[in-house]
Amino acid sequence: MPTFDYAPAPESRSVVTLAPSYDLFINGEFVDASGGTPFATINPATEETLAMVAEASAADVDRAVKAARTAYTRVWSRMSGADRGKYLYRIARLLQERSREFAVLETLDNGKPIKETRDVDVPLAAAHFFYHAGWADKLEYATLGANPRPYGVVGQVIPWNFPLLMLAWKIAPALACGNTVVLKPAETTPLTALLFAEICQQAELPPGVVNIVTGAGATGQAIVDHPGIDKLAFTGSTAVGKMIAHAIAGTRKKATLELGGKAANIIFDDAPIDQAIEGIVSGIFFNQGQVCCAGSRLLVQESIAEEVVRRFKRRLETLRVGDPLDKNTDVGAINSARQLARITELAAVGEAEGAVRWDTGCPLPKNGFWFRPTVFTEVSQSHRIAQEEIFGPVLSVLTFRTPGEAVAKANNTPYGLSAGVWTEKGSRILWMADQLRAGVIWANTFNRFDPTSPFGGYKESGYGREGGRHGLEAYVRTEVSA
């Protein structure tokens, strides 16, 4: 009997029109950069160059900040909340209308599977704009404090793992609260941000309200250091987050930082086991594990550890690794050669430390950056792969004996972004949620996001919240009335 081989089901690229090169988006227009060196952005699944992208210099950032300031003072801060909301609704609808284009472009530039960009990244990005559009005229009632007012010009630096979604998490609340924005997408994934710039034009958003400057670390630094920036919002590595905190210490600038994580996904012996296996899979292999809140440490009760690992390995055999544009692909490409090197190095460290490495040995494409879904068993708390954020499809399995020990191990990390708890016992979920020092705790699920729910970290995972009512607090000043 022939096996059930799924024929290739590639999503068409034709919906996307790529320009050979892209300029900066400042004051409502695409403009040439001054001085910087254009850089290539590539498709990590094939290493094909997609386009050349301008590098914004400090002078370009200055132009962008000035445009944002003018737009803030003359237009956006004077506009009623209801009118700001109209623009946000318009952007949200345009994102929906052009969702396929965004999904394909994101997959091309990032390497993540089309089913994720199509079903998660793009719909959630639109949802963030819809959600915050609703808040724009109701800030007075959001219990933020007396007379909530915008900061002014917000500098935003976002990572490459969810390029469009992180843009939405940043821009939607900033605009809803009346701020204007200078945003820098990551250098490996600038294209959806530039397509978003087109959406801003299409929505007839007043010039200067959103400015997009592309570039790498130096461009980001120029934003952080610019005196015209009132507030910074950053998502990325803890190391860069610390540099930003240093840089703005002693200035009037405020910051929210959403940084790394090493989340514990905790499986009790009474867990709904088949769903827990799915939760482990999505916890660590969603977006190739390049997720700050990834469930990269599996804490499983020792009495069921063997069964869980066996079932988990069996499940990995059905994961489909390959062409991100194929609608049946579960695991796509790693975003960059640099990230692949980092994952490869840490996995080698895990082996050297004595943990037991396993993967399915599935074939990988010849070109591009690929890493097989990998699991390490017999991992100890003192192993580097249990401590450091790998940011890739690598799971470390640890065991515990009691709920108290699970909490102690889960909290024994400098990070504190997320955690998962799997048990059929409701009271234990509540107790665990109370004990775990993490900003987001999922019960019997993992990696679920919603604009109404605040997201953010404890400890070295950063500060400030994004999403929900709490997320608005990051973009308003309030006053104590006399």
Partner: protein, 334 residues
């Protein structure tokens, strides 16, 4: 775990449960000790399986497989010999315009129509399945249910689709459910020693929770079911993907436990090729490809065949034909 004599399900159940006497308490302990099912997570997984995109050759293959897995069904009070003859003829010639079209696995009828179906099907490999045991409610005494079964067997049924006593199940009287299945299974053996395969309908729409579905699946398998089946088709919801997913997990785990394979039959509500292919994807990715055979997986359906033929024709001629190009022997009478 060893499986001594599968001909004596009670002895085997005792062995599997590790008890010297099979009591309701022993059964409850085992069934309630199964891992729980989180409904939200199960529905998410089912939805994810539903997004698989099956194209080209794999679609053609899946359509033919799905056709070969159908239990072509008519279970109406208004069934007549003519209707059943039509249905059986349709099973023999599913698409007169294309003789390469595979036949369904079986024709499924009420017990009193078995002889009619058998006569039309002649010596073709298409089997005759009969619903029995006071289908669909199952509200009759055990002797009546057994007589119903034996009657169908005597008329030539190759397969029996029985219903469990949902009342007993919901009342926690698992032993009664177990004993009834064991008794019906015995009644499935013909004088010549050959046994009809027994499909056990759990009527998951009445069991409601996925925890119940998992427990009922294990209870049926413990009692010797050859197939576990979702529904009678008379209760809504019938065969949903999440329910079938839980059953596929159950047969997978059962094989791991005992080494034996048990079949799965979703029935009722599966009408389109797209739905059927989603179920096959679930079979493939959850139970494994060993189940991708009509010996181990069936669709209980009446109108599904029409859509599968429509899609099959489209893949052959490159355009949709239309309802008038699908020979239909079982249109609605109303």
């Amino acid at each position: 775990m060893s499986t001594p004599d599968s001909a004596d399900p009670t002895a085997r159940a005792r062995d599997l449960l590790g008890v010297s006497r099979l009591t309701n308490r022993a059964l409850s302990g085992a069934l309630h000790g199964l891992h729980g099912v989180d409904q939200v997570g199960c529905e998410l997984r089912a939805a994810a399986l539903g997004t698989r995109s099956i194209k080209a050759d794999s679609k053609r293959w899946a359509i033919d497989l799905a056709i070969s897995m159908i239990d072509l069904t008519t279970l109406e009070g208004a069934d007549t010999p003519g209707k059943v003859r039509g249905l059986a003829t349709r099973a023999l010639v599913p698409d007169p315009s294309d003789p390469s079209t595979p036949s369904p696995a079986a024709v499924c009828v009420y017990g009193d129509m078995v002889a009619t179906a058998r006569e039309t099907l002649g010596d073709s490999p298409i089997r005759v399945a009969a619903v029995a045991t006071a289908f669909p409610s199952g509200r009759a005494s055990l002797p009546v249910k057994l007589a119903d079964t034996k009657d169908a067997i005597a008329a030539g049924a190759d397969e029996i689709d029985m219903v469990i006593d949902r009342g007993a199940f919901l009342a926690g009287d698992y032993l009664t459910v177990f004993r009834e299945i064991v008794a019906v299974k015995q009644a499935c053996t013909r004088a010549d020693g050959r046994a009809a395969r027994l499909k056990v309908i759990m009527e998951t729409g009445e069991l409601v929770t996925l925890d119940n579905v998992r427990r009922a699946s294990w209870l049926c398998m413990l009692a010797g079911a050859d197939f576990i089946k979702t529904s009678t088709g008379k209760i809504s919801p019938a065969a949903t993907l999440p329910v079938t997913l839980v059953m596929l997990e159950a047969v997978r785990d059962w094989r791991e436990h005992t080494g034996d394979m048990v079949g799965v039959k979703p029935a009722g509500g599966i009408r389109t090729s797209k739905d059927a292919i989603s179920f096959l994807v679930a079979v493939h990715e959850v139970a494994g490809e060993d189940w991708l055979d009509n010996q181990w997986f069936r669709f209980g359906a009446s109108s599904l065949l029409n859509d599968l033929i429509l899609q099959r024709q489209r893949m052959t001629i490159g355009a949709y034909s239309g309802a008038d190009y699908i020979a239909d022997d079982a249109p609605s009478a109303y």
